[in-house]
Subunit: 309 residues, 2 copies
């Protein structure tokens, strides 16, 4: 069987990497020949989860067409979040939990998306559908993905299916998910050792909103005031990135993972800032408080999409 | 629960109408409040199948936003094949077996597509996934849809899943699927009583291929030479439709459902004809033989998409 690569989005998070590993295991059991890879290095949180369950970080690729003709995507579908030469390969499978945007194919494919908190929740259902037993380490990395995406089931993106998946996977992985979950989330909040340039790119996605390129980055912390001490340095890095990458708007969402409180830093053209303010209210001195806003997918992208239209 | 409409594509076929009926029954069992509707009158074959299994033809709608805020799509996703005001409503669910093209949403949704011969095959799997019993009449209309889309399992789009679904559904519906299938297909081949204008619009879809609008219509017959006696009248109707609807290319695929032999009539701009010929070879006197080409989705759209790019 011809080899296919499976990967999540650029700036991979625990869902992008963990679900790629889980899908590759499942597809290989079903007769495919796949390898899970990543479009970037694992972040601190993901590295913690991989180590906990005994995985090496997947190989990082920059392009796909030099290796394979066909790929499978998890946790994304938008071309600008995918591998740079996505237009040179055929996408045969997608498993995702995001909106669908600019994803076009010339042939039918397998596509499964559901409005749940994490792609690994859908993956857990797929394992059940195909009646494939989930090994302990695969259950652990899927559990880690759901904890990451739902902030331990506290994000408004969390559904009953995510809760069911967490309970079932924690049992297979043999961990106390509340205790492990806090350890995992805290592993991703060590921002002191990283530069602002790195931090604004760790978990960042670009969106095409009515012709404007909007960059939304998010960092998790356990101390918001401490993070905000670096505000001017963040803004400088965001402006530099916007200038070099032609972003019309750059939003950095800084979220306290312990109490789901957030602040955002925002830079961009006057038009783009005006659209942002239509969605979220007045930005003062490039800053806005967004209490309870923890989900880029559910609480940031939909209002921004509407405001830009 | 807020009401949602479920419908298939314009110029509905047995899959579009039958799967809408089956999905509505399933979703209502799962707690949704849905009504299956259609974007056009049932064709002869679909009317035969509906009558056989005791269904009234679904209500025909021209717009959706005047009735509901949310809709579910079956057997299509491309906006130009959908209800005219699709941009005014939110799509919450899609079940389909086609390529994905120009389908964009602002929020996550349920989307299930698979490269199988008929949407009803996926629907059969969904009933199993949700563990919902399939009533005899629903099994019958889903069976009819698969027979229609796969030309009684003879089209190259046919997969093992389609075959399994046909066997399982025929048992529940309590029919001999080979005998019933021939009756159903023949019911759709009565072209003598219809005008050329009607025939080129009965099962027709428009595709945006690299900026060109390509119309592909298909009619099923049991006597190709008899159908070709009306060639000039077909071409006249195709040219008139192209002029009024700005089609760059109009292809009419005439298929003998008994032996899977086809001829095509083709009209369009010189550029578009040149692209068509890149895909299928020389068109002589607006006509080309395409033996074995019976599937628009698998054998027509992919090579045309490639040729236009």
């Amino acid at each position: 069987m011809e080899k296919e690569l499976i990967f999540g989005h650029q700036n991979p998070d625990t869902d992008a990497i963990g679900t790629a590993i889980a899908y590759s295991y499942l597809q290989n059991k079903l007769g495919y020949n796949t390898e899970p890879v990543a479009l970037g290095e694992a972040n601190d949180e993901t590295a913690f989860a991989l180590k906990k369950f005994g995985f090496e970080a997947p190989r990082v690729i920059k392009t796909a067409a030099n290796e394979v003709d066909k790929v499978m995507l998890v946790d994304h579908n938008e071309p600008q979040q995918s591998v740079s030469d996505i237009d040179q390969v055929t996408v045969t499978h997608v498993v995702d939990h995001h909106r669908i945007m600019n994803f076009n194919t010339s042939s039918p494919l397998f596509y499964l998306a559901a409005p749940v908190g994490c792609t690994s929740t859908i993956m857990w259902q797929l394992y059940q559908h195909y009646n494939v037993e989930i090994p302990q380490n695969i259950a652990g990395i899927m559990l880690s993905a759901i904890i990451s995406d739902t902030l331990l089931l506290k994000s408004p993106t969390t559904t009953d299916e995510d809760k069911k998946a967490v309970k079932a996977l924690a049992e297979i992985a043999d961990v106390d998910y509340e205790k492990y979950g806090l350890e995992e989330l805290k592993a991703g909040t060590n921002i002191a050792s990283k530069s602002e340039e790195d931090l604004i790119d760790l978990d960042a996605k670009s969106f095409d909103l009515n012709g404007k390129t909007v960059r939304v980055a998010q960092i998790n912390v356990v101390d918001l005031p401490e993070a905000m001490e670096r505000k001017n340095a963040f803004l400088k890095a965001m402006n530099a990135a916007s200038a070099s990458e032609n972003y019309d708007l750059f939003m950095l969402l800084i979220t306290n993972v312990l109490d789901s409180d957030s602040k955002a830093l925002v830079t961009g053209s006057d038009d783009a800032i005006a659209a942002f303010e239509k969605a979220f209210g007045k930005v003062a001195d490039s800053e806005i408080s967004l209490p309870g806003v923890v989900s880029r997918k559910k609480q940031v992208v939909p209002p921004l999409t509407e405001a830009f239209n």
